[in-house]
Symmetry: C2
Subunit: 188 residues, 2 copies
């Protein structure tokens, strides 16, 4: 068994979230709490699911500073300071807007980290260049800069919301634990 | 069958959410859309689940103006304008704070309706006078005043979040459809 475990660990490595049945949101809340850090969230396409998953964990009140669900463009501008010109130039579902949402949430909340998501959950709203399932995940961290991860997560609306929030939580887990980044993830 | 249906309808009446398998969030989104109305949300104890449920419905982008998850007291004050003095006098889990959160979200968003929730999801945080499961649901509506509903929803954290969001959605459904209010619901 020990040999098999070593082989599995060598193969999938830091994709292992926990070895004690804790799910991703529990690991993220625990790692934030251990560092005395707080997180803020800025969600568009996932509509509050990321924040809800974090707050499923007892004690999450110590690490969640604030969350915004900014579905409407005007809410992105009013609440998070995303420039209207940026929305007009790149569209709400774009890398620059994801980055601006994360930075806006970080600055406004005073948290140590801010996660932002903008995408197209479907079934409507897709286009040739931005099909349903397109999503940009951004993580801004005080003193560490901003990471952004573009993904394509086709499938049902429920599955899209789940997988997009999973990607966001994993991005924060990797930064907290100093692990390598997923393919496609880069500094903004 | 028709007689049985009539009997059931006469007995449980407006507790029937739909007769076509639509769940509560689908009915609420459809009724808002039919009226060209928008809703905003301000969540504490439910941590984004109310907003996530609304955004599970395709097309909800037309009716959701914005959502706030204000777990921390300072986020309630900064984002929704809940006076610090109100928080100090009544505590974050109180009827006046639920009302202030709803009115703050209504005013800030420009939506027609704003739902707010503040409570104690547990397992920690309960006290003699405010046990785990205590929650206040408030609904502020443009030109219609504010309703507030105090509830006690003991049980697991997951169940608490689900039942509290159910109560909030039903409060809005009843206002939209002009139905009677639940026992304990009153104007603030």
């Amino acid at each position: 068994v020990a040999q098999a475990e070593a082989l599995v660990r060598a193969t999938i490595g830091d994709h292992i979230v926990s070895d004690d049945n804790r799910v991703l949101e529990q690991v993220v809340v625990a790692e934030l709490a251990a560092r005395g850090m707080q997180v803020a969230t800025a969600e568009s396409c996932t509509g509050g699911l990321l924040t809800s998953r974090l707050t499923d964990v007892p004690g999450s009140s110590a690490v969640l500073q604030a969350g915004w669900v900014t579905y409407a463009n005007e809410a992105k501008t009013r609440e998070l300071g995303v420039p209207s010109s940026l929305l007009a130039a790149h569209g709400a579902v774009s890398e620059p807007v994801a980055v601006a949402m994360a930075r806006g949430a970080l600055e406004r909340s005073g948290a140590h980290h801010a996660l932002a998501l903008t995408g197209i959950a479907g079934p409507g709203g897709g286009s040739e260049h931005k099909p349903v399932g397109t999503v940009f995940v951004a993580l801004a961290s005080r003193g560490l800069g901003t990471l952004v991860l573009p993904l394509l997560l086709p499938g049902s609306r429920d599955r899209f919301k789940l997988m997009a929030t999973q990607a966001a939580l994993d991005l924060l887990r990797r930064r907290l634990l100093g692990l390598g980044l997923r393919a496609g993830c880069h500094e903004a």
